[in-house]
């Protein structure tokens, strides 16, 4: 049966078609102006799940990048402190070597060496208490404010290291072990220099102290090398995270953002469709039999 066509059904169909056409156009306008493909979860539930996961990963990566920046500053501080410590220690060794030269040294000369050594010790102690943003870089998680007390006792806790997270399962230690670098209490580098000074002043030959100084130097250089190694890891992580953040942004964009050229092309086509629909509707609804009956 051929369905009967009346003015009412024609009008209704024309209205519905124009409405559909307008709806499609509005949707495309929406996409083109917001430049977002995903405006609500029901637009594409699967892509929504992925987009939320990607956003969460991106936020985590941004946090890792901040952690890396912070860790980098810690390691740089420790690194430059250790470089200064090594320079000072070389001076300490030179002075001790001079002081060991018993035959050529007058007590006055030895006293001047002792005074300089005392000064160097004070510099070393202040280097050992180097801080970054108020935190001592050689004392782990101690909140005492200094790594070494005036009596050379170490304030850090053994095994409590400062870690920075650079990935979901990776952390990097960003402090330097003050106990390993400087020693603690009576076996510390400060006590060693004190003993050397004492020896110089009391006329004891300081040659045996040279070996102790060398041992300490070895420990310092060893720890410095470790700090350098961790610095490399942090630098590497910085690059990796930057690449990762880029990739995540790319994924997010491909999930959420529209392909602008495609949307504009669609919009143009839809515009033409709509105008055609209007023009055709105007022609179809116009004539009735009344126009031709006179």
């Amino acid at each position: 049966m051929i369905s009967r066509v009346t003015n009412a059904t024609q009008t209704l169909n024309a209205q519905r078609n124009l409405q559909l056409s307008l709806q499609r156009q509005a949707q495309l306008y929406d996409q083109a102006t917001s430049r977002r493909l995903l405006n609500k979860p029901s637009d594409d539930p699967t892509a929504t799940a992925s987009a939320m996961g990607v956003r969460s990963d991106a936020a985590a990566t941004a946090q890792y990048q901040r952690n890396v920046g912070n860790g980098d500053a810690w390691l740089t501080t420790a690194d430059s402190a250790l470089t200064s410590v090594e320079t000072l220690m070389r001076r300490v060794r030179d002075l001790t070597l001079q002081g060991a030269n018993d035959g050529a040294m007058s007590p006055e000369a030895k006293e001047s060496i002792a005074t300089e050594l005392d000064g160097l010790k004070k510099s070393l102690l202040s280097l050992a208490n180097t801080t970054y943003l108020g935190r001592t870089v050689f004392a782990g998680n101690s909140d005492a404010g200094v790594a070494f007390q005036p009596d050379y006792s170490f304030t850090g806790t053994a095994g409590s290291t400062v870690e920075r997270r650079i990935g979901p399962d990776t952390t990097v230690r960003v402090d330097a072990d003050g106990a390993a670098v400087f020693g603690t209490g009576a076996s510390s580098v400060f006590a060693l220099i004190d003993n050397t000074v004492n020896d110089l002043r009391t006329g004891v030959n300081v040659t045996p102290r040279l070996a102790e100084i060398d041992d300490r130097m070895k420990a310092i250089v060893g720890e410095h090398a470790e700090v350098g190694g961790r610095q490399t890891r942090i630098d590497k992580a910085k690059d990796t995270l930057a690449v990762g953040a880029n990739a995540l942004e790319g994924q997010r964009s491909s999930l959420e953002d529209v392909d602008l050229s495609k949307v504009i092309l669609d919009l143009k086509t839809q515009d033409v469709n709509y105008q055609t629909a209007i023009a055709v509707t105007a022609r179809v609804l116009q004539p009735t039999l009344m126009d031709f009956l006179r």
Binding site: V5, A8, N13, P41, T48, S56, N141, G159, S160
Partner: protein, 474 residues
């Protein structure tokens, strides 16, 4: 046979043509009236008078035309199809609207949703881990935690508000249904008396069909015609309208979502409170299903299920953070502290609050590892990533709502399509076509002219007979 019967035959033609023109006029002026069904004059020829007797031979012509009635060109099957499809489209539209509003309130995906706030919260923990015991990052953390709690509460409240609004609109729909039912019963009475006295009830029938369609949109329902021209409207198997009497309905059940579990929203008969009507379709059925309480399998009403998801998420968040936080120590060494607290007298999402008020109450480090240790804060910051992330629970809820909304939207589109196809079919049969009416107008006009000409011809013939007979040759 009367000499003048020809005149009478022509006269019946004039009357019939005039009635036809009148009906064409009625059709044309109602061309755009909603629910109007086109009408036709039905006529039939009057047979010749039967004659009896010896000298009654000869063939006689018919006696003209009679108007049998004004037929209303409707199609009961198409009307019924419109009603069933409208009921389905009313049901799915209400559900799709509710889901669209719900998913709009989630603000996902993007930078304004709860997931973005969660990420800020985890990042704040990461910054606290970097600077444990410092005032600034702890302040940021507490601020972000406060925002997270507020956003969770706002989300829950918007679901609650949506429930309350829909419940209130159900009252309105129930009273609309009562109004329509009362009007149908009233029209039933008028149609019955019009038909009994032999008048045309076409326009009343049009109005009644419109009303039964609006009843179908609200509550589904079956329309059952009776012999006397009245119809009964059955909703859920019971009579909403029976002849000229109406059984009123009312929307019942709790007016707050919190009480909906024990007193679910429902439509019930005013004369039998407490028993829900089993609706087959219509927007009231859509509202009832959307307002239904949550159940154990997660297939209850969408709004209650969303509220349950909000609560479950709040509980998970508090438990997971507290589980780690309570093992840590504050900078001053206090241990066993909670970060989130949940007020048991309220829904979890509304009762959630942040316990610490300053840096001294945030457990950031492992006990004994030093006052500036950030390992516990770091562990909490990791709750947002990995396979077992707290965020996953939220995003799975968002995706669930998205899928449900998409499905419901598709069903609603399909139902709309079916409904508009049915309406189209109904209109194709019942609506007024201007061209057709114009042609009818012409034919009735010509019929009128023809009948008038016959009358003139008979008149002239009689003139010849009466005035000119016997005057031959004069």
């Amino acid at each position: 046979m009367s000499t003048f019967s020809g005149l009478n035959t022509a006269y019946t033609g004039l009357v019939a043509a005039k009635a036809g023109l009148d009906v064409v006029g009625q059709n044309l002026v109602n061309a755009n009236t909603q629910g109007y069904t086109r009408q036709r004059v039905t006529t039939s020829g009057v047979p010749a008078l039967s004659s009896a007797g010896l000298f009654s031979g000869g063939v006689r012509p018919g006696q003209g035309v009679t108007i049998d009635g004004i037929q209303r060109l409707d199609d009961a099957a198409l009307d019924a199809r419109v009603r069933t499809t409208t009921a389905l489209s009313g049901y799915t539209n209400t559900r799709a609207d509710a889901l669209a509003t719900l998913e709009q309130s989630l603000n996902e995906p993007g930078t304004n949703g709860l997931s973005a706030q969660l990420q800020k919260f985890w990042s704040a923990w990461g910054d606290v881990a970097n600077q444990a015991g410092e005032q600034a990052p702890a302040g940021v953390l507490l601020g972000q935690a406060g925002s997270l709690v507020t956003q969770l509460q706002t989300g829950y409240r918007s679901v609650d508000d949506q429930w309350t609004t829909l419940r209130a609109s159900m009252d309105g729909m129930a009273s609309d249904l009562n109004t329509a039912a009362t009007a149908v019963a009233d029209l039933n009475g008028r149609i019955r008396s019009a038909l009994a006295s032999g008048q045309s009830a076409n326009e009343l029938l049009d109005r009644r069909d419109l009303l039964t369609a609006s009843i179908a949109k609200l509550a589904g329902g079956v329309v059952r015609p009776n012999d006397d021209g009245t119809v009964d409207v059955l909703v859920g198997g019971n009579a909403l309208v029976s002849g000229t009497s109406t059984n009123l309905v009312k929307a019942a059940g709790a007016s707050r979502m919190a009480d909906a579990a024990t007193d679910p929203a429902r439509l019930e008969w005013a004369y039998r409170p407490g028993a829900a009507i089993a609706l087959e379709g219509g927007s009231i059925a859509g509202a009832v299903s959307t307002l239904a309480p949550a159940d154990a399998s997660g297939t209850g009403g969408v709004l209650a299920e969303a509220a349950v998801s909000y609560n479950a998420f709040a509980v998970t968040l508090a438990q997971r953070v507290n589980a780690i936080h309570s093992t840590g120590a504050t900078p001053t060494g206090a241990t066993g502290l909670d970060f989130f607290a949940i007020d048991p007298t309220k829904p979890a999402a509304l009762g959630l609050s942040v316990v610490p008020t300053g840096v001294g109450q945030i457990a950031t480090g492992t006990p004994g590892a030093g006052g500036t240790d950030g390992s516990i804060a770091d562990a909490i910051s990791q709750l947002g990533t990995g396979a077992n992330a707290v965020d996953k629970q939220w995003s799975s809820f968002v995706v669930r709502v998205g899928v449900a909304s998409r499905t419901e939207k598709q069903q609603s589109d399909l139902a709309d399509l079916a409904s508009s196809a049915a309406t189209n079919a109904q209109l194709a049969s019942s609506s007024v076509d201007l061209d057709e009416e114009n042609m009818n107008m012409l034919s009735f006009q010509h019929a009128y002219q023809g009948a008038a000409r016959v009358m003139t011809a008979v008149d002239e013939a009689l003139d010849v007979l009466i005035n000119h007979t016997g005057l031959v040759g004069r």
